[in-house]
């Protein structure tokens, strides 16, 4: 399947702006994971008086649109205040690049989230924000699951309404996903991603994922491996492998 990129995407892919990392950055953050095939790291320098992002650089592990969106994110945020950047919408990056294929829209989300995470780190370091103790409730889990992408559409499983319900019982969390019209061949992939995302939360020891097909039958693939004990202690943003 040939993927068509705009001239602007190609330009930022072949000549990315602000590549690398700042020496002695004021803050940095990584978003994504190697297992998912895309990951981006931002380093920033922020003026403590004006809150202006005076410099920003990125590193990327990912496809052409991952590189291009991260490059565009640095271009758009340099010289802006952190308050302005915190209001960035991923769509703006996609628009500035003349559009992205639907399946690649999540790259712009990754870039914006990465920048925002770096800003958050800066705010914490400057006493402007507190390290959020992520509490295990339905809302935070749903928020986290927004990062799980339906491979067929490139959209989040949350925005597609694929998360039926979330149940929390101490350190155990139970998630039911419906596949709707998504090809069942992606069920296993979605299950893995949900598990990986949730296992990154400190408060969760065990993740149970049930996946239903459109007729509400449990899919065969998830029967034997539905329960996975948390084995390693990955911390940060999805930096644990699979």
């Amino acid at each position: 399947m040939a993927i068509k990129y705009t001239q602007a995407v190609i330009e930022h892919f072949t000549h990315p702006q602000n590549v690398g990392e700042l020496e002695n950055p004021d803050a940095s953050a990584t978003e994504g994971s190697p297992a998912c095939g895309d990951m981006v790291t931002f380093t920033i320098k922020v003026n403590p008086d004006t809150h202006v992002i005076e410099d920003v650089k990125f590193r990327s592990y990912g496809c052409a649109s991952n590189i291009a969106t991260a490059s565009m994110a640095t271009v758009l945020s340099k010289g802006k205040t952190i308050e302005e950047v915190k209001n960035f919408h991923p769509k703006v990056i996609a628009e500035k690049l003349g559009g992205l294929p639907a399946i690649k829209m999540h790259c712009s989300v990754l870039a914006v989230n990465g920048l925002k995470a770096a800003i958050k780190q800066w705010e914490i370091a400057h006493g402007l924000a507190e390290e959020e103790e992520i509490v295990c409730n339905e809302q935070t889990i749903r928020q986290l699951l927004k990062g799980v992408i339906n491979p067929e559409t490139g959209r989040s499983i949350v925005s597609m309404g694929m998360v039926n319900y979330i149940q929390i019982d101490g350190g155990r969390v139970f998630v039911e996903i419906n596949m709707q019209d998504t090809d069942e061949m992606y069920a296993e992939n979605i299950r893995e991603e949900v598990e990986e995302k949730l296992q990154s939360m400190k408060c969760i020891q065990q993740v149970i994922v049930r996946i239903l097909d459109r007729n509400k039958f449990e899919l065969k693939e998830t029967n034997d491996a539905a329960v996975k004990e948390k084995s390693v202690e990955p911390s940060g943003n999805g930096a644990g492998g699979i």
């Binding site: 399947m1 993927i3 892919f13 072949t14 990315p16 590549v19 690398g20 990392e21 020496e23 990584t30 994504g32 994971s33 190697p34 297992a35 998912c36 095939g37 895309d38 990951m39 981006v40 790291t41 990125f58 590193r59 990327s60 592990y61 990912g62 496809c63 052409a64 991952n66 590189i67 399946i103 992408i149 491979p151 067929e152 490139g154 069942e184 061949m185 992606y186 992939n189 065969k220 930096a239 492998g241 699979i242």
Partner: protein, 408 residues
């Protein structure tokens, strides 16, 4: 733009040869008859199809009447798998395949599962081989068909069909093989290899797209999957694609005239590229490295970077390849073949397939290898992947990244 294109994606498709096109052209204009017609134009067309059938069947070691022309190898796989399942007696409800099959085999299997059949997906070893012992163990009295790919489309593994076929023959189970990649590259004789059904096509050997064939051993019962007029021995309705069938036979004739020498040439080129690319640090070959690999295929993982980005950079430098990365497919999942041979997702994402035809040269290999080195270095210089942090790996953190880090 690059001055000259280097095409290393011949496992996807190949350029058609001029003599093949010339053989086809009269069947669009002059001899345009329908083989079903009774007048002289129809007879001409029928004669052309019949000659092509004899030619291609001969190269498989089959009889002409055992060959059914289809629109593609995909269609041939569907006809073999669905056709065998639907023709089987009621108590035969189980099929066996492997985890490294092409979607043209896996998806008909998935359909059958939804229709109430059971399917076993056999594991393969680290080089992609199916073990005859595992196959034997998976057999049940209900098993009706085994389908195992001959030459794998992604990692080039060539199965020993005879060993697998013997297990099937002994149990009275049908044995199908998808030979789309291997036909005309490595020897295949349906009689000696104990194959009951085999799918082949034309466009992987410099023939036209849109034509394939299914070998069905005489005496084997399958049910047709399309309804219409009784063409192709009443197994595949629809007017025969006469020019493409003629082109198929011409391409096969040319390929088999020089089979051994062409295979040697491709293997030489393949090994030249593999040798050069494995000199790049943190790279490894996927699939076997001996005579059990398709001469046309090399598949290499470049760690810590992502395949689509490699592919795009190579494309801009005039080198056409493909990738097992999730990002280079329409969906976001990595290749089932690479994960089946035990690759971690992040390694599957960084894999590139180089595939050759007899038209490629050693000079092209040297140019391409240099461009690959450039691209890998460029992408690694900017990767966010930190070995040792994002994966437990050799030389954790001591590799290229730290070095590059100091340069910034």
């Amino acid at each position: 733009m690059p001055e000259r294109l280097i095409y290393f994606d011949n496992n996807d498709t190949t350029p058609m040869l001029e003599p093949v096109l010339q053989a086809m052209l009269p069947y669009y204009t002059e001899h345009y008859g329908n083989p079903a017609s009774l007048h002289q134009l129809g007879l001409e067309a029928e004669e052309a199809v019949s000659q092509a059938r004899t030619t291609i069947a001969g190269f498989l070691g089959a009889k002409p009447e055992e060959l059914i022309f289809t629109g593609s190898a995909t269609e041939a796989n569907n006809l073999a798998i669905l056709g065998a399942a639907y023709a089987a007696p009621d108590h035969k409800r189980h099929l066996i395949t492997s985890k490294i099959e092409h979607s043209a085999v896996l998806n008909p299997m998935k359909r059958l599962e939804k229709e109430g059949f059971r399917v076993t997906y056999l594991d393969v070893d680290g080089q992609g081989f199916v073990s005859p012992d595992n196959l034997k163990k998976a057999m049940t009295p209900e098993t009706l068909l085994v389908s195992i790919v001959h030459g794998n489309h992604e990692i080039g593994t060539v199965q020993d069909l005879k060993d697998l076929g013997a297990v099937c023959r002994e149990r009275g189970v049908l044995f199908h093989t998808d030979a789309a990649q291997s036909f005309s590259k490595v020897p295949l004789n349906v009689v000696e290899d104990l194959v009951d059904l085999a799918s082949i096509n034309a466009h992987k050997m410099h023939g036209p797209k849109g034509v394939g064939a299914l070998y069905v051993r005489s005496g084997v019962r399958i049910r047709k999957i399309l309804e219409g007029a009784p063409q192709e021995n009443n197994m595949r309705p629809g007017t025969e694609n006469v020019p493409a069938i003629v082109g198929f036979a011409e391409a096969a004739r040319i390929a088999f005239a020089n089979l051994a020498a062409d295979a040697r040439h491709m293997a030489t080129i393949r090994d030249r590229l593999i040798d050069q690319l494995l000199e790049i640090p943190h790279s490894h070959l996927n699939g076997p490295r001996d005579h059990r690999r398709l001469p046309s295929n090399a598949d290499i993982t470049f760690k810590y970077i992502e395949g689509e980005a490699i592919l795009m950079h190579l494309s801009m430098r005039g080198v056409c390849v493909s990738s097992g990365s999730a990002c280079s497919s329409k969906s976001l999942t990595p290749s089932n073949v690479l994960t089946a041979i035990g690759l971690k997702h992040e390694d599957a994402h960084g894999s590139i397939r180089f595939s050759f035809s007899k038209l490629n040269t050693a000079e092209e290999v040297d140019i391409a290898a240099q461009k690959v080195r450039e691209v890998v270095e460029l992408l690694r210089s900017m990767t966010a992947f930190v070995p040792g942090i994002h994966s437990e790996t050799e030389g954790a953190g001591e590799g290229f990244y730290k070095k590059k880090k100091d340069e910034f």
